[in-house]
Amino acid sequence: MASYVKYNIVVENIGNKVYDFFGTTDTFKVCIHTDAPVVATDAVLADLTQIGGSNGYTTGGEDVQNDATRTTGTLTFTGSDIVWTASGGNLGGSTTGRYFSMYDDTPTSPADPLWSYWDYGATFTVATGETMTFDTGANIFTFT
């Protein structure tokens, strides 16, 4: 997973018990955004510039259906694939995405704390009838 990058704020949030990985207590979402992440300072969803909330993209992104398990000293965080379909125009309207970020949609203080981002490597346009799938694999991350 060379493209997975954790935001710096994560370690502080873990110390403050911000995230709950297990079960359905916390809902993690993946969004699409246009601005390059700044791992040193980006801390919450509001720090990102998402693509427009139109034509198949809902502002805030999609629920990754997260859960977690622990085996000995390793936590495995899992989710379900997300498929965005452009409908009625390009996904996000005139904006083009490039980055995916995952965040915890449940906490209110801080609100929507970030966890990680991925770089597609280029701006992309999803035209009507096309789809962009975010594949969560066998796990999104492991934590030891």
């Binding site: 997973m1 694939d81 490597g121 009838g129 096309e130 066998a138 999104i140």
Partner: protein, 129 residues
């Protein structure tokens, strides 16, 4: 005294002082890779069902089961209609030798991209000769 322009009307010289119409390229599709893309082609485009590597069925089943079928053509989740290629999202990813992005090209002209955010799964990789 004769001028070059005296000849151009009878014998136009393409490319010399004449603007050639730019080749039309559709940039508003997932098939398009912008000039500043960091992405590197890992595996060439091949028909899904003739690919030397086994392509997981979820690559097209996800489109059918999780996509908006009111907007998606049925051919777009029929492996008989699809071709696929594999990409690295960056030079650093290319150095690992593991693709993390795939594109499915449908015979209808639409493209479907798959970005591998997670891990621990099979990443098909192939060569053609």
């Amino acid at each position: 005294m004769l001028q070059p322009s005296d000849f151009e009307e009878d014998h136009p010289l393409p490319g010399i002082g004449h603007n050639q119409p730019p080749e039309e390229v559709n940039t508003e599709t997932l098939a398009w890779e912008p000039p500043d893309s960091l992405r590197i082609l890992a595996c060439p485009r091949v028909p899904v069902l003739k690919c030397p590597a086994t392509i997981p069925a979820k690559y097209w089943l996800d489109i059918k089961e999780r996509g908006n079928l009111q907007a998606i053509n049925p051919c777009c989740y029929d492996p008989n209609e699809l071709e696929i290629d594999a990409w690295y999202s960056s030079p650093a990813q290319a150095a690992t030798g593991v693709p993390n992005s795939y594109k499915l090209y449908c015979s209808c002209g639409r493209t479907h991209a798959r970005f591998m955010g997670g891990g621990g799964d099979v990443r098909p990789k192939w060569e053609t000769r």
